[in-house]
């Protein structure tokens, strides 16, 4: 099924759970009403955490720029020798 359908099904399911919690009052009603808010805030915090962690661990490769320059020099030498025009563009 389409992805959006999966998400809708999931949302409907947890809404059903939430409504049943309201009905049966296993948890005090005042708390239950706030559950969706808690969920959204938790999701937001999790998202921010993932962004922050990802940013800290963002893989960089400064040495690759150096290697690339070496490759460019080697390539230009070969190509010039074989009649390809590698003047600056």
């Amino acid at each position: 099924m389409k992805h959006i359908a999966k998400i809708m099904t999931f949302l409907v399911a947890i809404t059903a759970v939430w409504i049943s919690l309201l009905q049966t009052a296993m948890i005090p009603q005042s708390h239950t009403w706030l559950l969706p808010l808690y969920l959204i805030v938790s999701l937001g915090c999790y998202g921010l955490l993932m962004v922050g962690v990802g940013l800290m661990q963002f893989p960089t490769c400064p040495q690759e720029a150096v290697l690339l320059q070496q490759d460019v020099i080697e390539a230009k030498q070969f190509l010039k020798h074989n009649g390809v025009d590698v003047g600056s563009d």
Partner: protein, 241 residues
Amino acid sequence: MAEEEEKNKYSIIVPTYNERLNIALIVFLVFKHIPDVDFEIIIVDDGSPDGTQDIVKQLQQVYGDDRILLRARPKKLGLGTAYIHGLKHASGNFVVIMDADLSHHPKYLPHFIKKQIETRADIVTGTRYVKGGGVHGWTLMRKLTSRGANVLAHTLLWPGVSDLTGSFRLYKKSVLEDIISSCVSKGYVFQMEMIVRASRKGYHIEEVPITFVDRVYGSSKLGGSEIVEYLKGLVYLLVTT
């Protein structure tokens, strides 16, 4: 295993626009890194005014016009159609797509090929975001938006790959033909659409870490309109895949 390798041919499609120097460098590096592989490089040039096609003809003199195919188009017609155009002329059973500005280094081609042979994957996609991969030349802001966009896309789409907008990929030719016919987006959303559709269709996708040296200095690719386009793309993918 060696027998399988001998029967495989790789068609490397490189769309170009004003890349007269980079295309020569790329061709040299491809021949340097996969000398024993049966491949062809298909250059889809969109009428570059800087003489890219003249350089390609010079390269054909050096390397042979059976290995370097120039399949030009009259003007800039978009990336998706460039791939489709290249595909029509591809004689390999595998297709590699890569950028022409040397941000994708041909030294990773053996890694892609090896990964595909080992895992029999339908698609091998390069990822910049895992250990062993990486990016050079991005500001902190750029990294932040990239990471934020990635987290959002993963939360909404569950795509199954770590780098959604990457465009350094190896496809089985039949798989690429299948997916590309159902993709309609433009730009980097197009790359996202390709990989998400592939994932939805159940294709076997593997990843290899790649390093990406951003060669487009100073050009801010992430203004407000870019972000809006991205969000629109996400919603479109959310609803249609």
